[in-house]
């Protein structure tokens, strides 16, 4: 279509044609899956407002963690510890609320994120252990600590205020979890697209040597994205705790895969340099949508796992097939 005017620069035509298609596949896929479920499951209450709001409630934690994961992947790193950190933070928060009230609970949760993130960041940037390994090890450590300090038992949260703000509440018909997701998503999007920090994150993942030559402290960038990721994971854990009115070490188990899948589905590159928070949020919603639809279809858990895996592979394959 625009080939005549760009004949002397075919690469640009390729980019306009393919990159847009690639970027938009997630949105198209989202709409297609939504329509399929709306038709196939209309008699099972898929379109019921309550069901749709439920999808948001179930997706919010994944979306919060995936927003931060977008930064980590964009900087060319990865964080596998997010699910375990969410579980640990839910436990520390619940225990601190029990001991000192909601405020100390919030502080304890955030502190958990900062401590874990600092470890991940220091090990990765100062000692030079690849973040894949650092965070894989941290996954076990965080989960283990959570089990140990909670004695593998759920820690109940009695504070109504806390449960309302972090998970259970709603403003009119809008669940508070949706608010968390949208506010953090919006901040995440603007910071990545519009600030010097966001640009440095993308530059670090896009070409680390070139970024360093351009005067960017790439180690500091990597450190910071890993801390951000752990803090987002801790916040997700606090949201889980608020929603379920308890902290449990099992919370967030396996979430790291959904979180990474959400980001990659949305168009963020596993190889760094390319990331979009809006895409990530839609990717997270898509995963929530698929889970919800498969449950309504009455599939067994085993079948759900298989179907979900297949759909994610298909979507990622479509979104990644460049050239």
């Amino acid at each position: 279509m625009s080939s005549s005017e760009t004949a002397n620069m075919p690469s640009v035509a390729t980019r306009l044609g393919l990159a847009n298609w690639r970027q938009n596949i997630i949105y198209i896929g989202f709409v297609v899956i939504f329509l399929v479920f709306a038709i196939a499951l209309h008699d099972k209450g898929f379109l019921n407002p309550n069901n749709l709001l439920n999808i948001f409630r179930q997706t919010a934690m994944i979306a919060v963690m995936a927003t931060a994961m977008t930064y980590v992947l964009s900087a060319g790193e990865i964080d596998l510890s997010v699910g375990a950190v969410a579980g640990l933070a839910s436990v520390t928060t619940a225990m601190a609320i029990d001991a000192g009230g909601p405020l100390s609970g919030v502080l304890a949760g955030l502190a958990t994120g900062i401590v874990v993130g600092t470890f991940n960041g220091l090990l990765t940037t100062r000692i030079g252990i690849p973040s894949f390994l650092t965070t894989l090890a941290m996954m076990g450590i965080a989960r283990g600590v959570a089990m140990w300090i909670s004695d593998t038992a759920a820690v109940p949260i009695i504070s109504r205020t806390y449960s309302w703000i972090f998970g259970g509440g709603s403003i009119g018909p809008i669940p508070i979890l949706l608010v968390w997701m949208l506010v953090l998503g919006a901040i995440g999007h603007v910071v990545l697209r519009k600030t010097g920090f966001g640009r440095r994150v993308l530059a670090t993942g896009g070409g680390e040597t070139a970024a360093r030559y351009s005067g960017i402290d790439t180690r500091s960038i990597k450190f910071r994205v890993l801390v951000i990721s752990s803090m987002a994971a801790a916040l997700a854990g606090m949201l889980y705790a608020g929603r379920l009115q308890s902290g449990r070490f099992q919370l967030g188990e396996g979430d790291e895969l959904s979180v990474i899948a959400a980001a990659v589905l949305g168009g963020t590159s596993l190889f760094g340099g390319v990331g979009t928070v809006i895409g990530t949020i839609v990717g997270a919603l898509m995963i929530g949508l698929i889970n919800n639809g498969l449950i309504l279809m009455g599939l067994e858990f085993s079948q759900q796992l298989i179907a979900r895996g297949a759909i994610i592979i298909l979507a990622v394959a479509l979104s990644q097939s460049r050239k």
């Binding site: 620069m9 390729t14 440095r200 030559y213 005067g215």
Partner: protein, 528 residues
């Protein structure tokens, strides 16, 4: 206009730098004025890249001083050099492919709009204005990853200019550029010069130097040889200074006339996707054929096509009179060919693996019985090769990484010799290795030829090529421009017993042939 201020743009005095025991630079003076294009010349290992890296803050000099615009540089870091106004135009090194042109130009100095948010529209406008001022066409919105080499280079230059660089260093900038892009680059360099920028220009292409540079400094073996205006340096004189009087080492390779036998490797009209183009070539049994030419002349591309790494586009390849289809490296190996690749550490060896596992890598099939490797036979084979090539390693189980460059290269050779190939293609077999190993490898090449192998050898070091080869093909722009018997390069006037002198005379002659081939191939290009 030209000399705006009395201070030199750059003045390096008495710069010395050693790596381990090797002196890379000895007491070198190098000064560049504002508003001049200053060529920096020298053969491989002359010290050009070392002095540039010192100027750029990558290396710290052992002694000597650097002044930029009259101000002494006290701190030797890339950051300090950049602040002083020195910009190195790397081949794509400082650009991020996933960002746009404008985003790259203003990286870390982004235009800010309301709320302190990045304003890419303003950056694009400013980049556009910058390119307009420089009178070049680059789309500020394009992704750098989508640009061609010429456009990337312009983006790098724009980035440097926007950072207020006063001294621009170009290291072989034209290598990857098309003829038209080179013209554009030159026009652009003249403009920068007129604006008072100092430009340091490194190239092996004498014709380019003659066209663009005002003065030249020539280094040889880490020492300053001469600095003079181009008007006083005709190409012959430049080559004379670059070649100079080399130390002995290679000249002890005695080339006995080997009996050239039947043709072993024949190429008819072979072309690759871009290079090589329509190459005809014959290597006989017992013959070493050299491929000479500058970077980008298509020597390595030809080697890759022959050995099945790059696809052949047209033409045919015959081995021992029989046409063969070579569509993959495996086909080439089965046909009796072995490529000793250019990039030793990436393509040649697995550096963290042992000598044994590297030497046996290409013939695992022949060392296995069933699914199992015979450790016994692998050890025997490795020990044979270590002895035959005199590889100096603590043991066959030590990682190749722990060996010296010369011994690493011998491991690569051992790996391929173990497969008993008929034809060897050697791409820069002695790059970055010490003179002792170098001459051992050249001896080995001669021995292999005497044993009836056919050898194709690429080297940028002409003295080495002259020592090893029976015949030299000169390539330019992917084509074979000349086919010269080694004996024809001997200068009948330079007789006498000194082999060093004879080698140097031949080297000067070959240099001239290469430069002429370049001019001719470009003339062809313009006609087309």
């Amino acid at each position: 206009m030209t000399f705006v201020a009395p201070a030199h743009a750059v003045a390096m005095r008495g710069v010395t730098k050693s790596f381990g025991g090797v002196k890379a630079l000895v007491d070198v003076d190098f000064a560049v004025e504002k508003g001049e294009i200053h060529a920096l010349l020298g053969g491989n290992g002359a010290g050009k890249s070392t002095i540039l890296k010192i100027l750029n803050g990558v290396y710290v000099p052992d002694s000597g001083t650097i002044e930029v615009d009259g101000v002494p540089l006290t701190e030797h870091t890339p950051e300090a050099a950049r602040r002083a106004g020195i910009a190195m135009i790397f081949q794509e090194m400082s650009l991020i492919p996933t960002l746009t042109v404008a985003q790259n130009v203003f990286l870390t100095r982004e235009a800010k709009g309301s709320f302190g948010f990045i304003d890419d529209r303003t950056a694009e406008r400013r980049a556009k204005a910058l390119f307009a001022m420089l009178e070049v066409e680059v789309d500020p919105k394009a992704l750098v990853g989508d640009l061609g080499t010429g456009q990337r280079q312009l983006t790098e230059i724009a980035k440097a200019i926007s950072q207020d660089a006063k001294v621009l260093v170009f290291d072989e900038p034209s290598t990857a550029l098309s003829v038209a892009d080179v013209e554009r680059l030159f026009a652009f360099l003249r403009k920068l010069k007129a604006e008072g920028h100092a430009i340091i220009y490194v190239s092996h292409r004498m014709d380019e130097i003659a066209r663009i540079a005002d003065r030249a400094t020539i280094l040889r073996d880490g020492r300053h040889v001469i600095t003079a205006p181009l008007s006083e340096l005709p190409v012959e004189t430049m080559i004379g200074h670059i070649v100079g009087r080399r130390s002995r080492g290679l000249s002890d390779v005695v080339r006995v006339e080997t009996a050239v036998r039947e043709p072993l490797l024949e190429l008819k009209n072979v072309s690759g996707a871009v290079k090589p183009r329509n190459v005809d070539l014959i290597v006989h049994r017992g013959e070493v054929v050299g491929l000479a030419g500058l970077l980008g002349s298509g020597r390595s591309a030809l080697a890759r096509v022959i050995s099945g790494i790059d696809p052949i586009f047209e033409g045919e390849i015959a081995i021992a009179g029989k046409a063969v289809m070579i569509a993959s490296p495996k086909d080439a190996i089965n046909a009796g060919m072995a490529l000793i690749p250019e990039d030793r550490l990436r393509q040649g060896v697995i550096a963290q693996h042992s000598v044994l596992s590297n030497v046996t890598l290409a013939m695992l099939d022949r060392l296995s019985s069933g699914a199992f490797l015979s450790a016994e036979r692998a050890r025997e084979l490795t020990d044979e090769q270590i002895a035959a090539l005199r590889i100096k390693a603590a043991s066959r189980d030590h990682a190749v990484r722990t060996l010296s460059g010369g011994n690493q290269q011998k491991v690569v050779l051992a790996k391929w010799l173990a497969t008993a190939p008929e034809i060897l293609v050697l791409d820069e077999p002695t790059a970055g290795i010490d003179i002792g190993s170098k001459s051992e490898i050249i001896h080995l090449v001669r021995e292999l030829a005497r044993a009836g192998k056919g050898i194709l050898m690429i080297s940028s070091e002409l003295s080495e090529m002259l020592s090893a080869c029976d015949r030299i093909l000169v390539l330019s722009d992917g084509r074979v421009m000349d086919d010269i018997a080694r004996a024809d390069l001997d200068d009948p006037q330079t007789t006498g017993d000194d082999p060093v002198m004879r080698l140097q005379a031949a080297e000067r002659k070959l240099q001239m042939v290469i430069q002429r081939a370049l001019t001719r191939s470009e003339a062809d290009h313009h006609v087309q």
